[in-house]
Symmetry: C2
Subunit: 377 residues, 2 copies
């Protein structure tokens, strides 16, 4: 999988051993990251972005790698996250196959990939790893901690486990706990991978690879990252040309099916199935309320208590009205809970049609929102 680590990636070693929340520990683990801009003398102009499940650390072009990144319109000189002012850091998640240590990495104890011997991975482990990166980079306190999607969960876990690590927070399409509907979707994605005969209990290789399971899982991901509204405008009922359609019974016929197929095919060999399973499950397990002693029967109150235990100056939660995977109520919950903890916190609902993925495409809306928050710091 090393071929998918972008040039210019840097690494910070985690403490060895690095203890994992649910048991076990990692030896010689490290976190991949990239930076933009310059840390000032006061060490107080750092903004860290915790991404979603699949991205690498190459969020935008920089001197080490001029290729455009996955959040290019958001990060750079004069852009919403303005690298003329901010020292910007992006980390690749612990458990990923795109630079940081994960199930596809070599276990130093055996010299072979961890696969299923990787310890159970939680959102909190990823949070602890990033907190270590922040300290190692010599950042006193993050001016702003930004978390997207899964990264929004990781950011909340950082804030509760490492008080004072950030002065402010932007949570984009994130959540303080996994909802059962989202768990159901992710569970089905994992089942598709596990059911593929080539998955072989995590012991696949390039020749015997769970291609069809990964393809199903990714298609389901892409579908639930978007919305019916957007796709109606984008694909309508356009059919494939007869020479591109599928001859076999029940084969591809509509443009939307072909789009999904192409998108999934690109992904399946670029993301390690075991890493996907581990990170997917870590989201299901996440509930910020588990960090508070008392657990009531009301799961909403439970989560809310976790949010209220976070103390930061200001926060902004942004969500898309068409997001079915991390629905807007979850970003509202984050803003309401952080306000209880004393933050000046707001929720900004976006009328973007692109669903959960809106922050990756609807820059006309997300750009000004992020810029507006950072400019007032």
């Amino acid at each position: 999988m090393t071929e998918f680590i972008p040039p210019g990636t840097r690494w910070i070693d985690l403490p060895s051993p690095f203890p994992m929340k649910r048991g076990g520990e990692l030896q010689g683990a490290r976190i991949a990251y990239e930076t933009w801009g310059t840390l000032n003398a006061a060490r107080d102009n750092a903004v860290l972005v915790a991404p979603g499940l699949s991205p690498n650390a190459h969020m935008a072009a920089n001197s080490a790698n001029p290729d455009a990144g996955w959040w290019e319109p958001m990060v750079g000189p004069g852009k919403p996250i303005d690298t003329d002012r901010w020292y910007v850091v992006c980390t690749n998640p612990l458990g990923s196959c795109k630079g940081s240590t994960g199930p596809a990495s070599i276990d130093p104890a055996t010299g072979t990939p961890y696969r299923f011997s990787f310890p159970e991975l939680s959102i909190e482990d990823g949070a602890d790893a990033i907190a270590h990166v922040v300290r190692e980079l010599g950042i006193g306190q993050l001016a702003c901690l930004v978390g997207n999607s899964m990264g929004g969960m990781v950011a909340l876990a950082m804030l509760i486990r490492h008080p004072g690590i950030a002065r402010t927070h932007i949570n984009i399409s994130g959540a303080a706990r996994a909802l059962p509907w989202s768990i159901a979707i992710r569970s089905l994605q994992r089942e598709a991978i596990r059911l593929d005969p080539n998955f072989n209990g995590g012991d696949y290789n390039d020749e015997h690879y769970p291609e069809s399971g990964m393809r199903m899982a990714r298609k389901l991901g892409v579908i639930t990252y978007r919305s019916a509204l957007e796709w109606d405008g984008r694909f309508g009922r356009v059919r494939l040309d007869s020479d591109r359609s599928d001859d076999e019974p029940f084969g591809l016929e509509f443009q939307v099916e072909s789009y999904l197929e192409a998108h999934a095919r690109r992904f399946v060999r670029q993301y390690d199935p075991n890493c996907y399973l581990y990170l997917s499950r870590s989201m299901d397990w996440f509930d910020l309320g588990d960090h508070c002693a008392q657990r009531g029967t009301d799961s909403r109150a439970h989560t809310r208590a976790g949010l209220a235990a976070i103390h930061i100056e200001r926060a902004l939660a942004i969500g898309a009205e068409t997001d079915i995977l991390f629905p807007l109520q979850q970003q509202q919950e984050i803003a309401d809970g952080l306000r209880e903890g004393g933050a000046d916190a707001q929720c900004l609902p976006m009328p973007s049609p692109q669903g959960h993925d809106a922050f990756l495409v609807d820059f006309d809306r997300y750009g000004p929102a992020v810029r507006g928050f950072l400019d007032t710091l």
Copy 2:
């Protein structure tokens, strides 16, 4: 599959041969149905219900079968569809395995099940079959044609292909065309079935049955029939008792996963996979606009022209605000389009949390809505 046809089912033979819209014809085909109440002398008190993909014709208890049906709270003496006043008919869809002729039925030409030799099935074929049932039952004109989900598509096709067949129409969670997002979901369900090695191009049997493919397809169905909002209240983050959870890595852990598993396991052996594929694809193909001569580049205007070509007295389109599969905009489109055709047509949005399935469970809302419409006829 005959074991899944409820006792008390009756049949009406279709004309033989019965020509199919996309080519081919059926010999000796028939439609399963049940009735409630009595047709009056004027033959003008008939209400016909066209159900969704999976239900049989046993919508409610009757003298032939006292078992509760799948729409029991809606149909009966004094109920919203009041059988003291109305002569009520429910048909099982053409292509189903629950009574009507479909891919699991015996092809009289070979003495073996049709399987993939069944001709391509369209929504319109189902509509023509029901129109024949209406005539055979001696009904002059339906007082009201009710269609749920896929049945809402079938009902619209009946109205455009058989002008005058109904005086009024209730469309519940239906659509005048398949949206690309819904096509994507159904395409993925079909792919899960087709990828199961036991599917064997439709040539499976009870021993070698595409169990895991059907389970995946059904789970995806159940997930998309519901909503995140409802499941949060229903399942929250409750975990399984340790003796019910799954020991294998990445096995079942949350109640919502176990619910889905149980639900899917019940379904997979009670619905024929080939029938599922044929009916699922018939929905993807459906666009009422295809019945109008001119086809523009604007798919919304195209569909709207189809609706405006229907001429009935009154119509009610009901949809759930949380429906992601047949979203509310589609019921609004039906009401708007039928109004253009001259109908007194309204759309009634329901704040039900249960998504596409709301009409099967939220009787407190759907009961009065249906009753209110029928009472004024």
